[in-house]
Assembly symmetry: D3
């Protein structure tokens, strides 16, 4: 009774897609962040290679954008959204790579799952490209840091 | 020079798929774990509903298995692998949900990206299903904890 | 001449996507039903397990929702629709499982293919999960039972 | 106890992919059939147009083959299979169209879900292409009629 | 400075999706064409078989329509567009097959990539279906020939 | 009679997937090439930006690799192949960009469609990223230049 309401579960606890038909179309922005912790040698290598080539981060950026576009195929109860824009930013820090994704849509429902999915897949792609040299990476701190409705 | 070698980057730093043609087909297992931190009220609600219905976790499990099967579509330089098995386990703890994915394949290359992808998408699905009641969840500690080659 | 007109075929019988550009965006609902006939022992097992766990039906429900979202990828001349909602209901009956899918969209074209696809994939998923114990299941009675335009 | 065993559910009823790692690679064939019931005028139109053009049935055939190839993406606990061959046959009968799909694979697990999926999507595609002129079609009798292991 | 501006690259040359949120929804049409050059014997065979059956071209048409619908999944910085219509026309000429695709959308951004993708995949499908008999085919002249904004 | 045999068409001209079950697994390599013709200003801009950042070509490379992996989803009668490797090379020339894709597989059937698909999608991605500044690009000369069976 006093427990929170799960909008994806009906009275009997059955999974369902929330009906967004009656919600207004609004410009909605979400920003999510995350971090992939790497060994110092990996950070150095990313810095060295990132400056002239940037390939690891560019591949991760493309993967993240592509994943944001199929968020509703990955997450069963998400609605398909016609994204206006997705941006992925990386900052190579001493202990790893900080990832920030901004997703923007004009739609009836929020866009934070798209931003979180973009961050997650960016991190997984960096993991994949560095795993031959670094077996101890950890992906974390994936969260929504901003939601705007205009 | 002394920096580690990125197997996905060639001498010029160009992204490429590593050639696995010469590697032997072996039975390979990988286990990855992760954690989604939730508010106490969310944990209670998950416990209450999870016991009789389990819908949040079942939906997350299905999403994770489906994601593991398309890992190579999400992560650009991954090879497609014919998975023998994927298992997803959840433990509802006081501060959130612990996720554990085991992926098994008979193939020429390792299967840890599939396990990491399964954990990530399971966490994203739980996030999606609880976000109406909990705005502060954080996904983290995503890492590989075991790799076996037989 | 007196034969009906196939809207997907032009004057020469060539397959084409019907142009929906001039049609108004309306709230559209479709309901489809279907049935999967099972052996009595399968029905009993579904009943026993379905009560405490519901996993077969939850997995089928998730698969059906996911399939509804990719109807236009499965059926060549369907248009992509931004679904507002998809609901899947099951009733375990003495001779099998009755399936009912409701799809809702605000769009220029009808949504019955999404409901029919959801029912079909729900039935296929139940078949898959029961086929180890029941070799004689039959899927049938897949039809549209309601269409509403608001 | 005496109820049948669901291979996709473990002791606790949790959904899981069955481990097929230990099963031998064998040539496996499955044949599934189904039927879409149409109004007499639709059958006539299909016959008329099918003879010179065959477009409805060719589109349905292509859709069915494409669907068979993504069976594991549609049905959550199915394994990905490298299909050797898929054949789709149609017979226009007085009361509708009989559909027959044959799927063949050299793999560790059976291929009947691929044949059933092909039949289902062929029927849905015919439905989609005829629905402008026939509102009362019913898809049914979807079943496996043959399984061969060599 | 005097070099052209790449809208997909920001000031630092980083790939990004262009924000289309502020653009008006307009009816947009694009026409693209292409050509697949074949050996004379292949052209003859296409002509012979194309008249009674049309299968090669129908399969290519379906493949092209399906590809147009996933253009944003194939081309990383494309936006997802809800296509109103896609038409594919073929003309068998003495030296090969001319392909023409028309894509129409009511959206905030242009639809030429969908038309180009449809032409490309139509050509690839024809290639695939004729390659057993013709090893020297060449696909070319893929370009946009018309763009209309209403 | 004397016309060539289309392996994808049976005696009646019906589309079908060729049965590859009896063919031996062999290491197979295919190389395809293509060219995208650009205006001189576009070539200059690509050269300028390609040196420090390479983003256009890296995005095109990732898109091409991803497309190669779903060749069988794009081209209806292609078999799914577990690619060992895909390489994409670009050469910026005075009149445009030369594209070369190498695909390698250990499988029962050839891999040239994967190489051709990679080239096509690389060209489409370059087109997309340069189209804001160059309306007259033409994609062409897409062909197989080498096939090796070991």
């Amino acid at each position: 009774m006093s427990s929170p309401q799960f909008s994806h579960l009906d009275a009997q606890g059955t999974a369902r897609m929330v009906d967004v038909g009656a919600k207004p179309v609004q410009r909605r922005t979400a920003v999510a962040t995350g971090f992939i912790e790497c060994a110092p040698a990996t950070v150095l290598a990313l810095r060295d290679r990132a400056l002239p080539k940037g390939d690891v981060l560019t591949v991760a950026r493309v993967a993240a954008i592509q994943a944001a576009k199929i968020t509703d195929k990955l997450i069963p109860l998400c609605h398909g959204l016609p994204l206006d824009r997705v941006d992925i930013d990386f900052e190579i820090q001493d202990r790893g790579v900080a990832i920030r994704a901004t997703s923007v849509v004009s739609a009836k429902t929020g866009v934070e799952m798209e931003a979180l999915t973009a961050v997650s897949v960016a991190a997984l792609t960096i993991y994949d490209m560095c795993k031959a040299v670094d077996k101890g990476m950890v992906i974390g701190s994936i969260q929504v840091v901003e939601k705007i409705k205009e």
